[in-house]
């Protein structure tokens, strides 16, 4: 997984500046380019697929004929990529990945998160033309999946994955995929239930038409009788099959002594059914089967809407997703130091795997994680994750623990140091020896903590369930009172009718619809604005939050292009160009950041004898000048006195040209734009706190930002953070945690609502209740306000439906409820609630949240 994302990373060119770029339409598909802008010649593209197609067509002279592109014969594959995925062809792994495997045909479905536009579908579904070994390729756009059928004799599974990666569609290979159950037919079942309910509803309405218009006298009682039995026949499958989920939910609810919303619904449905059957048998009338099926139809539409919303938002919470599927292991006996190859060049991997400079290539093997054992020697390359706690054997390790501690500053480790699982090697390749098995490591133990599993009992305490608890008691109470009243009045027939009528008319179908439509619409509105919440419950929880805990790095401050200042004698333009040329050759985050800042449409100069001492500095000859950039200690070892006397805020990179000290770059963790305003807006209504794994050098700045009353904690370990939140909760607070990285994972889960901040949506899915794009962090205040408003909309929806119910009840207790009234009244209340809920949620989103594609992007 990590190697996949790394494969496309170098191609990504940030726009003019994150957030600064106005929406640029993609040259190929016309969609607005979002966080990813790719360039080819003068054109801009929103995704790899668009660019690939474009270049493909231009190369073939088919620029005007996009859809007729002749893609056959194009060589997309990069040779070095193929070897990386050869482990997929191991029999054990392969059999778990593929859905169908025979000698001639293999079927497999990949999740491809990069799919996002029509061109993606086009490109992927035309795979058979790129490589004839493919028989078929079908894309499911909503699920971002591609189903492939290919000839395993002509194409290996590893090659398939490599080809997809080379096209810009790296499949999401995860452990979860291996244990995934086959696609459940639950969607189909719901469609069938809905279809049958709709079918019965329509036809029963036809039979009931004479009754609606009072034509009974024309058609005579016989027809009414026959129509009644027809209606019964049609309603029976609805009652048994379409409503099956409601019976089950109501039954489980009752068994757990929970009066969920399904209980009164089931009660109402049974009441309608029995009453109708009674009327038909006794010849009293045609019953209320039209209402019954109509209600079922609307309920199922609501359920369908709910499921569609969930489907789109489902994301994995499994920690295993973070780890690469396979690692490079040295065969036993191959103990010699491996690395010190082409360190520092931009594309390390390709050079290494192609170049003959690789002395021990044959001693390496790609193995899956499950095959690793303590004592194995692993090679961790640039950007790869360390799969288990390990001891560094050789190579300069520069470990980015941002997955673990959330802090972006990489840590340099000496040989023999213990490296922790989840760290990411930056720069050159290293050799490590595993000291603990994969599933025992520190991260796993953090994730496996009991606190990590969020308590589910809280989710039952939703607005709707609290409402329905009172509702059920009240309705049954009213029904009983009405029955007793009429019995006392000496009218037992009317008593029975009133009792059942109350249950019928009070069937809380409109109630059941208010929540899914209001919250479902809200989830979609937020999704369009790059804020993805796990479930509707999260919105309710957000509305109840009264304390907010922030992580610093990556949440309040940006890990991307932060404020970079140069301290010292100002650099001339030519010097800046040299430095820029130098930084281009390093993948070190600081080098990348400095490079981004000083780039002014420079044409990079030729760099000779580039050498990077990972984690310390880099040097090269440019235009005959010797350029050094690195830490103060590194320069000091070259007899250059760096001025690092008073510690500035942030980190420092010193520069020397021809052995003469020129100054230093100071990289501050820059606050995200508009963060201060957001915090001010929040400070008045919420208790704020800041947790950081960083050192307290920025304490004053943060204190000024968050206010005096805020609790600032530095040097926090993941466990400290978890404890902090736990303590807040024990003091009765409902805590919203906003953080990024794995270190916050425990805290995110412990909190009532955990929001993970990601720079690139889709690239990272930590355990959390929601994922928000980094650019939307300033909109947090608006998000909270929106959540509160939406919960208010739900309550208003409940009030509307309650008002309808009151009117109905007034008639029902008098025993005056007629089938016609029911047939019009009950769907009307449902439709009103649906329109109100979704309409209000949309309108509020427009008012409170920023427009999609506006400031949020």
């Amino acid at each position: 997984m990590s190697s996949n994302t790394a494969a496309i990373a170098p191609m990504k060119t940030p726009a003019v500046g994150p957030g600064a770029a106005a929406a640029v339409p993609c040259h190929h598909c016309g969609l607005d380019c979002r966080d990813l802008v790719l360039r080819s010649a003068e054109q801009r593209f929103c995704c790899q697929g668009c660019r690939t197609v474009y270049e493909l067509l231009i190369e073939n002279g088919l620029g005007d004929f996009y859809r007729l592109g002749q893609s056959a014969g194009m060589q997309f594959q990069r040779p070095e990529a193929t070897a990386q995925f050869s482990y997929l062809d191991e029999a054990a792994l392969r059999s778990r990945l593929v859905q169908f495997d025979s000698e001639k045909l293999t079927r497999i479905t990949f999740r491809v998160p990069a799919i996002h536009c029509v061109a993606c579908i086009w490109l992927l579904e035309n795979l058979p033309r790129i490589n004839p070994a493919f028989h078929e390729a079908r894309v499911n756009f909503a699920r971002k999946e591609v189903a492939l059928a290919f000839d395993p004799r002509r194409l290996k599974l590893g090659d398939v994955v490599a080809l997809l990666g080379a096209l810009g569609y790296p499949p999401d290979l995860r452990f979860d995929d291996l244990d995934r159950a086959p696609a459940s037919p639950i969607g189909r079942r719901l469609w069938l239930q809905l279809g049958i309910a709709g079918f019965a509803f329509g036809n029963i309405m036809l039979f009931s038409l004479p009754g609606y218009f009072g034509l009974d006298s024309f058609s005579g009682p016989m027809f009414s009788q026959i129509f009644g039995w027809f209606s019964f026949a049609l309603a029976l499958p609805v009652f048994v099959f379409s409503a099956a989920d409601y019976w089950r939910s109501a039954w489980t609810g009752l068994r757990q002594r929970q009066l969920t919303i399904e209980v009164p619904i089931a009660l109402g449905l049974i009441a309608i059914f029995i009453r109708s059957l009674f009327e038909i048998i006794t010849g009293l009338g045609e019953g209320y089967f039209d209402s019954l099926t109509g209600l079922m139809f609307f309920l199922l539409i609501g359920r369908m809407f709910q499921q569609k919303t969930y489907d789109r938002l489902s994301f994995e919470r499994d920690y295993k997703s973070f780890f690469p599927l396979a690692v490079t292991r040295l065969r036993r006996g191959g103990m010699e130091s491996w690395s010190n190859g082409a360190v520092g060049a931009k594309d390390n991997r390709s050079e290494r795997s192609n170049a003959p400079t690789l002395p021990h290539a044959s001693r390496e093997e790609r193995v899956s994680l499950s095959q690793l054992a303590v004592g194995d020697q692993l090679v961790i390359r640039n950007g790869e994750l360390i799969p288990a706690d390990a001891k560094l054997r050789s190579g300069p390790a520069l470990i980015d623990y941002s997955f673990v501690t959330g802090e972006s500053d990489p840590v340099a480790c000496p040989a023999g140091a213990l490296l922790f699982a989840g760290g990411r090697q930056m720069g050159g390749a290293i050799e490590v020896e595993m000291t603990r098995a994969v599933n025992q490591s520190y991260l796993t133990s953090l994730w496996n903590q009991a606190a990590f599993q969020k308590d589910d009992s809280g989710t039952l305490d939703t607005v709707i369930n609290r409402f329905s608890r009172r509702f059920t008691f009240n309705v049954v109470g009213i029904a009983v009172v009405a029955a007793i009243w009429w019995l006392a009045a000496g009218d037992p027939a009317r008593a029975g009718k009133a009792f059942v009528s109350v249950l019928i008319v009070a069937c809380p179908c409109a109630l059941a619809l208010a929540t899914p439509f209001a919250l479902g619409t809200a989830l979609r509105m937020l999704g369009r604005r790059q804020m993805f919440l796990k479930s509707p419950t999260v919105i309710e929880n957000l509305a109840r939050v009264d304390a907010i805990v922030f992580d610093k790095t990556g949440t309040l401050t940006s890990t991307g292009a932060g404020a970079v200042r140069f301290v010292g004698h100002p650099l001339s333009e030519i010097e800046e160009r040299w430095l820029y040329s130098l930084t281009r050759h390093s993948t070190h985050p600081y080098a990348v950041r400095i490079g981004e800042v000083i780039a002014h449409d420079f044409f990079p100069e030729a760099v000779r004898s580039f050498l990077e001492t990972p984690g310390q500095g880099m040097e090269a000859q440019i235009s005959g000048r010797e350029i050094w950039m690195g830490s103060a200690a590194w320069l000091a070892s070259r007899n250059v006195a760096a001025e690092s006397g008073k510690l500035e805020q942030g980190s420092e990179v010193h520069v020397a040209i021809d052995g003469r000290y020129r100054g230093k770059f100071v990289l501050g963790g820059a606050l995200r734009p508009e963060t201060d305003r957001m915090i001010q807006a929040l400070g008045s209504c919420y208790e704020l706190a800041l947790l950081s794994g960083d050192n307290p050098r920025e304490r004053e700045r943060m204190a000024g930002l968050l206010g005096k009353s805020a609790d600032l904690q530095f040097n926090q370990s993941p466990l400290n953070k978890l404890e902090f939140i736990h303590n807040l909760q024990r003091s009765g607070r409902r805590v919203l945690m906003v953080g990024d990285g794995l270190n916050d994972a425990g805290a995110l889960k412990q909190s009532d609502v955990g929001l993970a901040v990601v720079e690139e949506v889709g690239a990272f899915s930590p355990a959390s209740d929601g994922i928000v794009a980094a650019s939307t962090v300033p909109q947090l205040a608006a998000l909270l306000r929106y959540a509160q408003s939406v919960v208010r909309v739900v309550k208003a929806g409940l009030a509307i439906s309650a008002a309808y119910n009151l009117v109905g009840l007034a008639l029902a207790v008098q025993g005056l409820l007629s089938p016609v009234f029911c047939a019009v009244f009950m769907p009307l209340s449902s439709i009103t609630v649906v329109l109100f809920s979704s309409g209000m949620a949309t309108w509020l989103a427009r008012r409170i949240l920023p427009q999609p594609g506006g400031a949020g992007q």
Partner: protein
């Protein structure tokens, strides 16, 4: 009015045919993905039948 005794079973029969068609469509997976086909319909079929040469000559015609 007695004609209704024939017409109503007929109408139900007809409606049942539609219901059966719907059930068949769901079972055969046509409802599994309701989004992609709406996008796919905009894509032209691959011009497999047309030989490659005809494409290579096209841009020359348009550019001159």
């Amino acid at each position: 009015m007695n004609v209704l005794f024939i017409l109503i079973p007929l109408s139900i029969l007809l409606a049942t045919c539609f219901l059966w068609a719907f059930i068949w469509a769901v079972r055969s997976g046509q409802y599994d993905d309701t989004q992609t086909p709406s996008m796919r319909v905009l894509l032209d079929d691959a011009p497999v039948a047309v030989p490659k040469e005809s494409f290579d000559s096209k841009p020359n015609q348009t550019s001159t």
